[in-house]
Symmetry: C2
């Protein structure tokens, strides 16, 4: 499908992408770029890339697909650096969790010929790094591609096929719709998980059982990654936090009023929604 694919960032997403691409034979050659020497040598040892380099410009040279995996704000910085070095017909994409800021900024400095498309494969884990990569990380998960007025249609349809071949359910949506949906379904749960952990800072944590463990699991995610997500989707997330607090207040009021029927209603409603997934 591609002659040469370069993956920038060899963490959980980048590393899993590298092995998935090789396994599905979607590229003649897979090049990995990392800013850490240890990651480069580990990627070589694991054999997940055909070559690996610390040098961004060398890494992207002659590639027809370049995938940026990094915290959201880093994606923008790296794009700025590599854009002048890309082949004229190259497709550049990313795997960032917010899209409006990334796509608008990168479209702003895109040279003629090069296509940029925002991708968001909804796969991941609270774990990070090459030690946790998984060739099936993307299988069966959703991947959202964003479309703007500047989107190259041929590049869009090629990327749709690319993510589809990795086993993903691909959907195309606008930047705003993506960021709004992900705020509620991914960024808000993260904020709730963080707030819950912080609420229990001084509690008897040895007694934390399955419920606490599950609801706070994602709070173990990388702080720098999530700071960038929060900052670049801050208006939607702030709005969703207000909505969550309202739902919490409903429970709080029912508790204070000893309103058993209202508690049962809220519990049943939530079970119904959760069981429906």
């Amino acid at each position: 499908m591609f002659k040469r694919v370069t993956i920038i960032g060899l963490g959980l997403i980048g590393g899993s992408l590298a092995i998935a691409i090789k396994k599905k034979k979607l590229a003649g050659e897979v090049v990995g770029v990392s800013r850490r020497k240890t990651t480069i040598s580990r990627a070589r040892t694991l054999g997940i890339v055909d070559s690996a380099t610390l040098d961004l410009k060398k890494g992207v040279k002659d590639s027809d697909l370049i995938i940026l995996t990094a915290p959201v704000l880093k994606i923008i910085d790296i794009a700025k650096k590599i854009l002048p070095c890309l082949r004229k017909d190259a497709i550049l994409t990313d795997a960032g969790s917010t899209k409006e800021v990334i796509v608008k900024r990168i479209e702003g400095f895109l040279p003629a010929g090069v296509s940029f498309l925002g991708s968001h494969p909804l796969a991941g884990s609270e774990r990070s790094g090459l030690d946790h990569i998984d060739k099936d990380l993307f299988k069966g998960a959703h991947c959202i591609l964003t479309r703007t007025g500047k989107t190259n249609k041929a590049a869009l349809s090629k990327l749709k096929r690319f993510w589809g071949k990795l086993g993903m359910k691909v959907e195309v949506m606008s930047l705003k719709k993506h960021d709004k949906a992900l705020s509620a379904l991914s960024h808000l749960p993260h904020a709730a998980s963080v707030a819950l952990s912080n609420t229990c800072a001084k509690k008897d944590l040895r007694l934390a059982a399955g419920g606490f463990r599950d609801t706070t699991r994602i709070a173990s995610g990388k702080p720098e990654v999530w700071r960038d997500i929060f900052i670049t989707n801050r208006k939607n997330i702030a709005k969703d936090i207000v909505a969550l607090k309202k739902e919490l207040t409903k429970i709080e009021k029912a508790l204070k009023r000893n309103n058993s029927a209202e508690l049962l209603r809220l519990l049943k409603k939530a079970k119904n929604i959760r069981d429906g997934i």
Copy 2:
């Protein structure tokens, strides 16, 4: 250890207890009581009890240990019914998730000779029923026993050994301390999970990935069970919800002020707490 143990309620906890007791040979005979005919015959088919009955009074006759597994308020109702039928030296305990209301009420109508002790094995799942029972459900988990001014010391030490032999880490604490600790670490996460599900009622739930699934998993728990927990620990939970809303407000304010450093601080603090478990 016991001649005859009766387990009232053959759901996930009751059924798992039955097979764990048989496996560890802690009783000469295990009797199961359920109010459903289908459960009785299923328990017999699975061979998890030596005998099973729909009749509470028949079920508890001559037993030296009776364990009540049911939603919290049902535990109190059932205790009231069976207490007059218990052997004079019997030990009665429960597996309810709140303790102050249960223990104070049951101690209020305890006949001479019978000991009642509140137990809370911190094991469970969002799943329920005999289809999900697990002989290792209790292994390695905490079990809290509560002590009051009326606690029979011999019964307390016997129950400590009993739960210990099921592989549990046993701790003894006051009713108030138990309900306060569990509010923060179990009941608050449940409330958060319910509120989060309800906040996302009208969202694109097909896009819900691992983070949403994990943070809302426990919202699938039985509404009736959780209504009773909420009602019988309502003051602590309401207070903890207020604390959680304050933590959410910290994130909300940092988002509104575009305060990257404060977001990173909150994310790092939460990660540190969560990784420490």
